[in-house]
Amino acid sequence: MRRRAWGTALALLMLTVAPGAVAAQVAPQVDDPIARTLFEPELIMQHRRAIELTDRQRDEISRVIKDAQGQVVSMQWDLREQADALATELNRPRIDLDRALDRMSRVLQTEGKIKQARLTLLVRIKNILTPEQQESLRKLRAQPSSGVPEG
Protein backbone atom coordinates (compact mmCIF):
# COMPACT_ATOMS: atom_id res chain seq x y z
CA MET A 1 0.00 0.00 0.00
CA ARG A 2 2.76 2.36 1.07
CA ARG A 3 4.80 1.37 -1.99
CA ARG A 4 1.88 2.25 -4.25
CA ALA A 5 1.58 5.66 -2.58
CA TRP A 6 5.27 6.31 -3.18
CA GLY A 7 4.86 5.26 -6.82
CA THR A 8 1.95 7.66 -7.30
CA ALA A 9 3.88 10.48 -5.64
CA LEU A 10 6.87 9.82 -7.88
CA ALA A 11 4.69 9.77 -11.00
CA LEU A 12 3.08 13.06 -9.97
CA LEU A 13 6.49 14.59 -9.31
CA MET A 14 7.71 13.50 -12.74
CA LEU A 15 4.61 14.95 -14.39
CA THR A 16 5.22 18.24 -12.61
CA VAL A 17 8.93 18.43 -13.30
CA ALA A 18 9.10 16.97 -16.82
CA PRO A 19 7.41 19.84 -18.73
CA GLY A 20 9.76 22.31 -17.04
CA ALA A 21 12.75 20.21 -17.99
CA VAL A 22 11.58 19.99 -21.61
CA ALA A 23 10.94 23.74 -21.72
CA ALA A 24 14.43 24.35 -20.37
CA GLN A 25 15.87 22.20 -23.16
CA VAL A 26 13.84 23.99 -25.83
CA ALA A 27 14.51 27.50 -24.50
CA PRO A 28 17.32 29.34 -26.30
CA GLN A 29 20.65 29.41 -24.58
CA VAL A 30 20.81 32.86 -23.08
CA ASP A 31 24.46 32.32 -22.16
CA ASP A 32 25.26 32.48 -25.86
CA PRO A 33 26.44 36.08 -26.36
CA ILE A 34 25.20 36.16 -29.96
CA ALA A 35 21.84 34.50 -29.32
CA ARG A 36 21.31 36.87 -26.36
CA THR A 37 21.40 39.96 -28.54
CA LEU A 38 19.46 38.71 -31.56
CA PHE A 39 15.94 37.39 -32.06
CA GLU A 40 15.10 34.11 -33.75
CA PRO A 41 12.19 34.14 -36.22
CA GLU A 42 10.43 31.48 -34.12
CA LEU A 43 10.43 33.83 -31.12
CA ILE A 44 8.89 36.60 -33.22
CA MET A 45 6.30 34.24 -34.66
CA GLN A 46 5.34 33.09 -31.18
CA HIS A 47 5.00 36.58 -29.74
CA ARG A 48 3.95 38.61 -32.78
CA ARG A 49 0.69 39.71 -31.13
CA ALA A 50 2.39 40.67 -27.90
CA ILE A 51 4.97 42.83 -29.69
CA GLU A 52 2.33 44.21 -32.09
CA LEU A 53 4.22 43.18 -35.19
CA THR A 54 2.84 45.16 -38.13
CA ASP A 55 1.87 43.61 -41.44
CA ARG A 56 4.71 45.48 -43.08
CA GLN A 57 7.26 44.11 -40.61
CA ARG A 58 5.85 40.60 -41.03
CA ASP A 59 6.17 40.88 -44.82
CA GLU A 60 9.75 42.22 -44.57
CA ILE A 61 10.74 39.41 -42.21
CA SER A 62 9.12 36.88 -44.56
CA ARG A 63 11.17 38.31 -47.42
CA VAL A 64 14.51 38.13 -45.60
CA ILE A 65 13.78 34.59 -44.41
CA LYS A 66 12.98 33.55 -47.97
CA ASP A 67 16.29 35.04 -49.17
CA ALA A 68 18.29 33.26 -46.47
CA GLN A 69 16.45 29.96 -46.87
CA GLY A 70 17.51 29.47 -50.49
CA GLN A 71 21.15 30.26 -49.75
CA VAL A 72 21.44 28.15 -46.63
CA VAL A 73 19.83 25.02 -48.06
CA SER A 74 22.24 25.06 -50.98
CA MET A 75 25.22 25.54 -48.63
CA GLN A 76 23.99 22.71 -46.41
CA TRP A 77 24.18 20.33 -49.36
CA ASP A 78 27.75 21.51 -50.00
CA LEU A 79 28.59 21.10 -46.34
CA ARG A 80 27.30 17.54 -46.27
CA GLU A 81 29.34 16.59 -49.32
CA GLN A 82 32.48 18.23 -47.93
CA ALA A 83 32.00 16.63 -44.51
CA ASP A 84 31.61 13.22 -46.19
CA ALA A 85 34.80 13.84 -48.18
CA LEU A 86 36.64 14.75 -44.96
CA ALA A 87 35.29 11.68 -43.18
CA THR A 88 36.40 9.46 -46.08
CA GLU A 89 39.88 10.96 -45.86
CA LEU A 90 40.05 10.49 -42.09
CA ASN A 91 38.81 6.92 -42.39
CA ARG A 92 42.03 5.77 -44.10
CA PRO A 93 44.49 3.78 -41.98
CA ARG A 94 47.17 6.32 -42.83
CA ILE A 95 45.99 9.86 -43.43
CA ASP A 96 47.54 12.40 -45.76
CA LEU A 97 47.60 15.35 -43.34
CA ASP A 98 47.78 18.06 -45.99
CA ARG A 99 44.86 16.61 -47.84
CA ALA A 100 42.85 16.17 -44.63
CA LEU A 101 43.54 19.77 -43.60
CA ASP A 102 42.55 20.97 -47.05
CA ARG A 103 39.28 19.06 -46.83
CA MET A 104 38.63 20.44 -43.38
CA SER A 105 39.38 23.93 -44.55
CA ARG A 106 36.62 23.55 -47.15
CA VAL A 107 34.21 22.31 -44.50
CA LEU A 108 35.08 25.24 -42.26
CA GLN A 109 34.63 27.68 -45.11
CA THR A 110 31.13 26.41 -45.80
CA GLU A 111 30.32 26.34 -42.10
CA GLY A 112 31.46 29.94 -41.94
CA LYS A 113 29.28 30.88 -44.89
CA ILE A 114 26.24 29.28 -43.28
CA LYS A 115 26.92 31.09 -40.03
CA GLN A 116 27.36 34.32 -41.97
CA ALA A 117 24.03 33.84 -43.76
CA ARG A 118 22.37 33.10 -40.44
CA LEU A 119 23.89 36.16 -38.79
CA THR A 120 22.84 38.29 -41.76
CA LEU A 121 19.27 37.08 -41.38
CA LEU A 122 19.16 37.69 -37.65
CA VAL A 123 20.67 41.16 -37.98
CA ARG A 124 18.20 42.06 -40.71
CA ILE A 125 15.32 40.85 -38.57
CA LYS A 126 16.57 42.85 -35.59
CA ASN A 127 16.82 45.97 -37.73
CA ILE A 128 13.19 45.54 -38.81
CA LEU A 129 12.03 45.53 -35.18
CA THR A 130 11.61 48.72 -33.17
CA PRO A 131 13.64 49.14 -29.94
CA GLU A 132 10.39 48.70 -27.96
CA GLN A 133 9.62 45.42 -29.71
CA GLN A 134 13.17 44.23 -29.05
CA GLU A 135 12.80 45.04 -25.37
CA SER A 136 9.47 43.18 -25.24
CA LEU A 137 11.02 40.16 -26.92
CA ARG A 138 13.91 40.15 -24.45
CA LYS A 139 11.43 40.07 -21.58
CA LEU A 140 9.25 37.43 -23.24
CA ARG A 141 12.28 35.26 -23.95
CA ALA A 142 13.25 35.38 -20.29
CA GLN A 143 9.82 34.05 -19.31
CA PRO A 144 9.28 30.29 -19.28
CA SER A 145 7.63 29.30 -22.55
CA SER A 146 4.19 27.70 -22.55
CA GLY A 147 4.92 26.29 -26.00
CA VAL A 148 1.67 27.69 -27.38
CA PRO A 149 2.04 30.40 -30.03
CA GLU A 150 0.15 33.61 -29.29
CA GLY A 151 -0.26 34.73 -32.84
Binding site: M45, R58, S62, V73, Q76, L79, V107, E111, I114
Partner: protein, 127 residues
Protein backbone atom coordinates in the same frame (compact mmCIF):
# COMPACT_ATOMS: atom_id res chain seq x y z
CA UNK B 1 -107.71 48.51 -45.55
CA UNK B 2 -105.24 47.53 -48.07
CA UNK B 3 -105.24 44.06 -49.39
CA UNK B 4 -102.33 41.69 -49.27
CA UNK B 5 -101.65 42.26 -52.94
CA UNK B 6 -101.25 46.00 -52.50
CA UNK B 7 -99.01 45.50 -49.48
CA UNK B 8 -96.90 43.09 -51.38
CA UNK B 9 -96.51 45.51 -54.26
CA UNK B 10 -95.60 48.31 -51.88
CA UNK B 11 -92.97 46.24 -50.13
CA UNK B 12 -91.52 45.10 -53.40
CA UNK B 13 -91.30 48.70 -54.59
CA UNK B 14 -89.58 49.85 -51.36
CA UNK B 15 -87.19 46.97 -51.45
CA UNK B 16 -86.31 47.74 -55.05
CA UNK B 17 -85.73 51.41 -54.13
CA UNK B 18 -83.49 50.40 -51.23
CA UNK B 19 -81.60 48.08 -53.50
CA UNK B 20 -81.08 50.86 -56.05
CA UNK B 21 -79.96 53.22 -53.30
CA UNK B 22 -77.43 50.69 -52.02
CA UNK B 23 -76.24 50.01 -55.53
CA UNK B 24 -75.79 53.73 -56.11
CA UNK B 25 -73.87 54.26 -52.86
CA UNK B 26 -71.65 51.20 -53.16
CA UNK B 27 -68.56 51.91 -55.23
CA UNK B 28 -67.76 49.67 -58.13
CA UNK B 29 -65.91 46.59 -56.95
CA UNK B 30 -63.85 46.13 -60.11
CA UNK B 31 -61.92 49.42 -59.81
CA UNK B 32 -61.41 48.72 -56.07
CA UNK B 33 -59.95 45.34 -56.82
CA UNK B 34 -57.78 46.80 -59.54
CA UNK B 35 -56.53 49.52 -57.18
CA UNK B 36 -55.76 46.97 -54.48
CA UNK B 37 -53.80 44.89 -56.95
CA UNK B 38 -51.95 47.98 -58.12
CA UNK B 39 -51.04 48.98 -54.57
CA UNK B 40 -49.75 45.47 -53.80
CA UNK B 41 -47.72 45.54 -56.98
CA UNK B 42 -46.34 48.98 -56.04
CA UNK B 43 -45.54 47.88 -52.48
CA UNK B 44 -43.47 44.89 -53.56
CA UNK B 45 -40.63 46.83 -55.24
CA UNK B 46 -40.68 49.26 -52.33
CA UNK B 47 -40.12 46.50 -49.79
CA UNK B 48 -37.46 44.98 -52.03
CA UNK B 49 -35.83 48.37 -52.24
CA UNK B 50 -35.97 48.66 -48.46
CA UNK B 51 -34.28 45.27 -48.07
CA UNK B 52 -31.72 46.19 -50.68
CA UNK B 53 -31.02 49.42 -48.85
CA UNK B 54 -29.74 47.34 -45.90
CA UNK B 55 -28.47 44.29 -47.68
CA UNK B 56 -26.38 46.07 -50.28
CA UNK B 57 -24.14 48.00 -47.85
CA UNK B 58 -23.85 44.87 -45.72
CA UNK B 59 -22.82 42.80 -48.72
CA UNK B 60 -20.33 45.47 -49.78
CA UNK B 61 -18.92 45.67 -46.25
CA UNK B 62 -18.62 41.87 -46.06
CA UNK B 63 -16.95 41.82 -49.46
CA UNK B 64 -14.49 44.54 -48.48
CA UNK B 65 -13.70 42.80 -45.20
CA UNK B 66 -13.05 39.59 -47.10
CA UNK B 67 -10.85 41.44 -49.60
CA UNK B 68 -8.85 42.98 -46.75
CA UNK B 69 -8.73 39.97 -44.41
CA UNK B 70 -8.21 37.05 -46.77
CA UNK B 71 -4.83 38.25 -48.11
CA UNK B 72 -3.77 39.17 -44.56
CA UNK B 73 -4.63 35.69 -43.32
CA UNK B 74 -2.79 34.24 -46.29
CA UNK B 75 0.22 36.41 -45.49
CA UNK B 76 0.09 35.26 -41.85
CA UNK B 77 0.00 31.63 -42.94
CA UNK B 78 2.87 32.23 -45.35
CA UNK B 79 4.87 33.84 -42.52
CA UNK B 80 4.22 30.83 -40.27
CA UNK B 81 5.19 28.47 -43.05
CA UNK B 82 8.44 30.31 -43.78
CA UNK B 83 9.44 30.46 -40.12
CA UNK B 84 8.69 26.75 -39.63
CA UNK B 85 10.65 25.88 -42.76
CA UNK B 86 13.55 28.04 -41.61
CA UNK B 87 13.45 26.37 -38.22
CA UNK B 88 13.74 22.94 -39.87
CA UNK B 89 16.57 24.12 -42.10
CA UNK B 90 18.43 25.53 -39.12
CA UNK B 91 17.94 22.30 -37.22
CA UNK B 92 19.79 20.41 -39.95
CA UNK B 93 23.01 22.29 -39.10
CA UNK B 94 22.46 22.59 -35.36
CA UNK B 95 25.67 20.62 -34.98
CA UNK B 96 28.44 21.48 -37.43
CA UNK B 97 30.68 18.62 -38.65
CA UNK B 98 33.70 20.17 -36.94
CA UNK B 99 31.97 20.79 -33.57
CA UNK B 100 33.63 17.70 -32.18
CA UNK B 101 37.04 19.31 -32.63
CA UNK B 102 36.12 22.20 -30.35
CA UNK B 103 34.46 20.07 -27.69
CA UNK B 104 35.54 16.43 -27.95
CA UNK B 105 32.98 13.93 -26.73
CA UNK B 106 35.53 12.53 -24.22
CA UNK B 107 36.07 15.91 -22.49
CA UNK B 108 33.18 15.33 -20.12
CA UNK B 109 34.68 12.08 -18.82
CA UNK B 110 37.28 13.95 -16.75
CA UNK B 111 34.57 15.82 -14.86
CA UNK B 112 33.46 12.58 -13.26
CA UNK B 113 36.84 11.79 -11.71
CA UNK B 114 37.53 12.41 -8.02
CA UNK B 115 40.19 14.86 -6.80
CA UNK B 116 43.68 13.37 -6.87
CA UNK B 117 46.31 14.68 -4.48
CA UNK B 118 46.56 18.28 -3.28
CA UNK B 119 48.65 21.40 -3.78
CA UNK B 120 49.94 22.92 -7.03
CA UNK B 121 49.57 20.69 -10.07
CA UNK B 122 47.11 18.39 -8.40
CA UNK B 123 44.34 17.20 -10.65
CA UNK B 124 40.90 17.94 -9.44
CA UNK B 125 37.94 16.47 -11.23
CA UNK B 126 34.52 17.86 -10.54
CA UNK B 127 32.48 15.44 -8.51
Amino acid sequence: MRGDTELDALLRERFARLKEDDARRTPDFAPMLAQARRSIADARPASRLRVLRWALPLAVAAGLTAIVLIPERAADREFDRLVTEWSRTSDATRHAPTDGLLAPATAGLLDGLPAIGSGIGAFRGRL
